[in-house]
Amino acid sequence: MTIEMKKMIGPGAGETPRQPGRRRLALLMIAGLGVLIAGATFAAPRIPADDSAVLEILPDAKSLQTRALRAAEQALAAKPGDLPAALAVARAAIHQARREGDPRWLGHASAALAPFLTARPGAQISPDVRLLHAIILQSTHDFPASLDELAIVLRADPNNGQALLTRAAIRLVRADLAGASADCAAFAQTRAGLLADSCTASVMAQKGAAPRALRALTLSLASHALEAAQNPETAAWAATIAAETAAHLGDTSADARFHAALAIDATDPYVLAAYSDFLLAHDRAAEVVTLLASHTKNDPLLLRLTLAEIAVRAPLAANHIADLGARFEASRLRGESVHRREEARYRLDITHEPARALALARANWQVQREPADAAILLAAGRANQDEAAIATAHAAIALAGWNETAMLAGLMPVSQGS
């Protein structure tokens, strides 16, 4: 067969006037086809062509903390049944879960403690085990079970600082402001300083005394510089509460305060979420897109990134909407309730399913009652014209003296408990 070159001809001159924008449209369509092919090809399991293909990058693999956790787990594997080794694993894993915002480390901590959580005849469960177990339960939002464990720990040791702070955080989440206040006060009796002041200020800020809370924290940050330098996590927490309170008050220092918190730890998931809420409320979505671009594995951060991408009409929004939907679905299949507030916001503002949003906001309200929980309940209630939900939210807002406008804009401090 001979291959003959033949000339291809286009339309004759003047046959059709060239339309501007056609080329762009064509490129768009070709890009669309590319997306389809890529989606179809990479959705299915595949065998990579090359042994050197990097499939996964382990986050933070070389950091001291990650290596310490590995070493602790190896030590425990070598000495199963050794309580100090198990406690070391649990502490390192809880620490790692806070740093990365990855719940799998809580599962690691819980696995290390599991053999010591069932009392053997004649032996008590160690209070250290109970305390760490309570922190894990708090992090997975099993608040009643966590409070039970904390009650046992505090009965034996009423001045246990970690137990008091953990209980304060849970009580704050559940809008038990008097109880939270008492825990912070008990903590301050033995350990006055930035940590105690942060605890008290976080309660004051939700009690309708935000200006006083902000003044107190500003003073405390200035007078406890040494404690802040020695405990970056405490410093970051204090700076975040100050930033959120300033944002809620419309104080111009809010932005600088968030930057101060991020300067201590630029990857703290809690600070990133709070600052993103601040930026979204001030029509600065483009900055959120930059800030959170590399934090897609954390669900609450992915939600904020997606909201920002929708606001600036970024091309990745469609993918992230689908990712979030898939993660909430997996979470539902797993029987989890950790991110119901986030899912309610997703259903309300992104997929526009107000009825599902209200059901989630109501279920969430049964578990946690922070300003942000009241805000989503109120917003979902209004979208469904559900008087009961609106009344419940209004009652909570009136009781605490929250600023409803700031609250609905997402500018309310939330505790570390969620």
């Binding site: 067969m1 291959i3 003959e4 033949k6 000339k7 291809m8 001809i9 286009g10 339309p11 046959e15 059709t16 060239r18 056609r22 080329r23 449209l25 064509a26 768009l28 369509m29 669309g32 086809l33 997306v35 389809l36 092919i37 989606g39 179809a40 990479f42 959705a43 399991p45 595949r46 065998i47 990579p48 062509a49 042994d51 050197s52 293909a53 990097v54 499939l55 996964e56 382990l58 693999a61 070389k62 719940p103 799998r104 599962g107 690691h108 819980s110 696995a111 594995k297 669900d299 469609a318 993918n319 689908a322 990712d323 898939a326 993660r327 679905e329 997996a330 979470s331 299949l333 989890e336």
Partner: protein
């Protein structure tokens, strides 16, 4: 028209996104079981991050897990997975066969995918899964189990540290709707095969691209092509091409499934690559007859052999086999029409521009031709270098 096309583009993006599988940032593994007679096809997907903890994958400790590192640990992965996962039918264990290792990218990271067949002593009535992967290292780990029976019925379940086994009565799910379930299941298999088999998709695209032009032989004997006047011409031409293709692949598909003809996979797969090379070349150089449908028929015979290997040997009673084959072909046909619905309006809208026939058609054809040439070399020589 413009609005209509924009709509298509949007549909495309949304079609592509739901294909991404479920994932959550807490540790989750996905177990999919397909019971077929005495065999249960098993697919287990475990996050590489979790496997790294369980068996150690990042052997050089650089924080990056490569495919080579996964492959080097295949034995350890199999030993770990198969000692923590047991499948039993009616009280008797179904021992696992050889494991194929793959990988998948889900929304929360990369997963190791293990595929194997578990051989039961008979067709299972009651299936039991015992699962204990990763529970000793992570109490928040969950296994999401999905069982798809031969009639297409779907059963989902979760295993956790407190509930480590799942039982399912398969006979209960096989009821009167079995006929339609078979139709649906094979239809979906057909659609899936065409849309995820990028080679078939590219072939259909190559076949259809020139349908918006009409080739004419001028007085000087030189062949030229002009844009079609109306959509009807395009539609009729495409209909002929697709029908010829379908008729041909249905024929060889049936012959192979009935085992009347047998062609080694290596031969049929390289044949498919060759048909793409030739069709792509013809889009650029026009060396084959202007009428496309005989070409589509001839090449369709080759593609049917490829479809047969996707369907595998079917031990079904004659009526069910007929239904399955018709449904599979219908599925393929629907997928082809979907591709046509993308390629044709696109080409039709752009047929009178200069750049579509001069740049886009030869450009895409050349790219596809080169890719197919690589496939051909890879498949004919049995190198196994190409990813799909």
């Amino acid at each position: 028209m413009k609005r209509f096309l924009t709509t298509i583009v949007f549909c495309l993006i949304f079609l592509a996104t739901p294909l991404r599988a479920h994932a959550h940032s807490a540790s989750t593994a996905y177990l999919r079981l397909l019971p077929r007679d005495a065999t249960v096809a098993v697919q287990l997907s475990v996050a590489l991050r979790d496997l790294d903890y369980a068996v150690g994958l990042d052997t050089n400790g650089d924080g990056r897990i490569t495919w080579g590192e996964v492959r080097a640990r295949e034995t350890a992965i199999d030993a770990y997975a198969l000692s923590h996962l047991a499948i039993a039918a009616d009280g008797a264990g179904c021992p696992p066969g050889p494991v194929t290792h793959l990988t998948d990218q889900l929304s929360d990271g990369a997963y190791a995918v293990l595929q194997f067949n578990a051989a039961c002593s008979g067709k299972p009535h009651r299936l039991r899964i015992d699962y204990s992967l990763l529970f000793d290292q992570d109490t928040l780990h969950r296994g999401l189990i999905n069982i798809v029976t031969s009639n297409g019925a779907n059963h989902a379940g979760v295993v956790s540290p407190t509930t480590r086994s799942l039982s399912l009565d398969l006979s209960a799910s096989e009821g009167g709707a079995a006929f339609f379930d078979t139709v649906e299941s094979f239809c979906v298999t057909g659609i899936d095969h065409l849309l995820t088999g990028i080679d078939h998709m590219l072939f259909i695209t190559m076949l259809l691209i020139p349908a918006v032009f009409v080739r004419k032989r001028g007085a000087d004997g030189r062949e030229t092509q002009v844009a079609a006047n109306n959509f009807r011409t395009v539609f009729v031409e495409s209909l002929k091409v697709l029908s010829a293709f379908t008729l041909a692949h249905a024929t060889t598909l049936t012959l192979s499934v009935l085992r009347i003809v047998y062609i080694p996979e290596r031969l049929s797969e390289s044949g498919i690559a060759l048909t793409i090379v030739l069709t792509a070349l013809d889009n650029i150089f026009h060396f084959m007859p202007a009428r496309r449908w005989p070409l589509a028929f001839a090449f369709g015979l080759v593609h049917g052999l490829g479809f047969a290997s996707a369907l595998g040997p079917l031990d079904l009673p004659p009526v069910a086999l007929g239904v399955a084959l018709v449904a599979f072909n219908l599925g393929l046909e629907m997928a082809q029409i979907t591709i046509a619905a993308v390629v044709l309006p696109l080409g039709f809208a752009l047929r009178q521009t200069l750049f579509y026939p001069r740049r886009v058609v030869p450009g895409i054809s050349a790219a596809v031709g080169l890719l197919a040439l690589a496939w051909f070399t890879d498949r004919a020589a049995g190198l196994g270098l190409m990813p799909f």
